[in-house]
């Protein structure tokens, strides 16, 4: 069995703020950050945006060519490094950045399209999807591998898995891993609406638009934000006396190779089994699953089926919730944000609720966490699922420190 990797820092700029504990407390209470956006669009839209004071992180002189997606990333990564505490003797060539991003600088592209022919000269460096990782590297002085993973909704879960693998191989001593996404701009919202995957809602009901696993579900809402974690070997963490939030004990990455956008239970089950195998755990050892749970008609049933296949006779003991009803779908940052939520659930022994707002679809029947403030003091291991367009599935398995 490979040695588990320690998680020693957490940083978020999320729809529920930039303090991980306060964010988790709000999620535990079932508070939705979804609200109506862009009233000028023909079809109503809801999203969860992240309140962000750019002046805390950047002077005006530092901002040219820095899209919001990179601003959020720099802030979340910096918060994670601060949370990880004093590093002591650390070779900057042995730090790596593993960053997920689905789209890149959406606001920069939107401004270019809408500029009436006047295209800002820094559109390209602002838009390129590896800009967030590059800006983190410059801010933190990272001289090792600075890598970006663009795997749609699994981007940042894949990034975290790759970071942990690099630490286990001994390539690097410390990784800043996570993701960033900021694409709440009219053009992108219109594109997602055209894809028919966003939740419909009545006026005044935006906060409750997303209903994972419910009979009345109709899709997700977009969210923006960034989340990063600091990873290092358990031995290094012990040596420097770091506080360990949890351990990344396993991960599994698989491909459906069946359809570009339609999820596939056997493919997801392969990723789930791979994560268990790597962690050397049995399904009954895992008490909580932060589901991908995008509240689409097909996706929720397929995810439930994949979990049921792998957990078998122990399925009833697995508590499940999708927190996307509360923070929206952060796409390339979703895996990282939900990893942080899963780590906090383990650390605090509390489970965030699945706010479904009504009857659960019988085809999604499982042991959902339906009540806010659910305690789980015996929780020892938990997983976070991220299943991407393109067919890549990523599962992260965390154990209590």
């Amino acid at each position: 069995m490979n040695q588990a990797v320690a998680i020693t820092g957490l940083g978020v700029v999320s729809p529920h703020g930039d303090d991980p504990q306060a964010m988790f407390a709000a999620l535990l209470r079932g508070e939705s950050a979804l609200q109506p956006i862009f009233p000028e669009l023909p079809k109503p839209a809801a999203a969860a945006t992240a309140a962000f004071d750019v002046a805390r992180w950047f002077t005006k002189l530092q901002l040219p060519g820095v899209d919001r997606v990179s601003q959020l990333a720099v802030a979340a990564a910096d918060l994670a490094m601060r949370d990880a505490g004093e590093q002591g003797d650390l070779d900057r060539e042995r730090i790596g950045i593993y960053s997920g991003c689905g789209m890149g600088g959406a606001a920069a592209l939107e401004a270019a399209y809408r500029g009436g022919g006047r295209v800002p000269p820094l559109t390209i460096p602002a838009f390129m999807p590896n800009a967030p990782a590059a800006h983190i590297a410059m801010r933190q002085g990272v001289l090792g591998p600075v890598l970006t993973y663009s795997v749609a909704c699994a981007s940042s879960a894949v990034a975290i898995a790759e970071a942990a693998a690099a630490i286990q191989r001994g390539d690097i001593d410390l990784a800043i891993a996570g993701g960033s996404e900021a694409l709440i701009v009219p053009g992108v919202v219109l594109a997602w609406q055209a894809m028919q995957t966003l939740a419909a809602f009545e006026p005044g009901e935006a906060a409750r638009a997303v209903r994972p696993f419910a009979s009345a579900r109709s899709g997700f809402a977009l969210g923006e934000g960034s989340a990063f974690i600091v990873l290092e070997s358990a031995e290094r963490a012990r040596r420097r006396g770091a506080r360990v939030h949890a351990q990344l004990a396993g991960w599994g990455i698989s491909s459906d190779a069946t359809h570009l956008t339609k999820p596939d239970a056997p493919g997801q089950a392969r990723a789930l089994r791979a994560a268990l195998r790597r962690a050397d755990l049995q399904p009954r050892d895992v008490g909580y699953c932060n589901a991908h749970g995008t509240a689409t008609r097909i996706g929720d049933v397929v995810e439930r089926d994949a979990l049921a296949q792998v957990w078998g006779g122990d399925f009833d003991a697995l508590r499940v919730s999708s927190t996307k009803a509360l923070h929206g779908h952060l796409l390339g940052a979703a895996g990282a944000l939900e990893a942080v939520i899963t780590v906090l659930a383990l650390q605090r022994g509390e489970l965030p609720p699945n706010m479904s707002g009504g009857e659960i679809d019988p085809a999604c029947a499982m042991n959902l966490v339906l009540e806010p403030g659910t305690a789980a003091p015996a929780l020892r291991a938990a997983i976070s699922n991220s299943f991407a367009f393109g067919g890549t599935n990523a599962v992260l398995l965390f154990t209590r420190a």
Partner: protein
């Protein structure tokens, strides 16, 4: 005509640099405008004055030189419009 004062105001607005610090002789690079910030500043000048800067203007180093270049272009602008 000198565009110096207007440029000082624009640079203050955009990058938060105090106009008193921006003497005509001051090097824009030394004041913290790297090559990317300078390119963006030239774009903002074009927007503000409705002019087109020349490619070689991106090599300018002081605010005085920049003001002189803007003055030349603004003085020519009506002529080139009717040419």
């Amino acid at each position: 005509m000198s565009s110096l004062k207007e440029l000082q105001e624009l640079i203050h607005e955009k990058f938060g640099i105090d106009p008193a610090e921006l003497t005509p002789e001051a090097s824009l690079r030394e004041k913290g405008l790297d090559s990317l910030a300078l390119v963006e500043f030239l774009f903002a000048i074009e927007d503000r004055f409705k002019i087109s800067m020349r490619d070689e203007d991106s090599n300018i180093d002081t605010l005085g030189q920049l003001a002189a270049a803007v003055d030349v272009i603004r003085a020519k602008a009506p002529v080139s419009n009717t040419a």
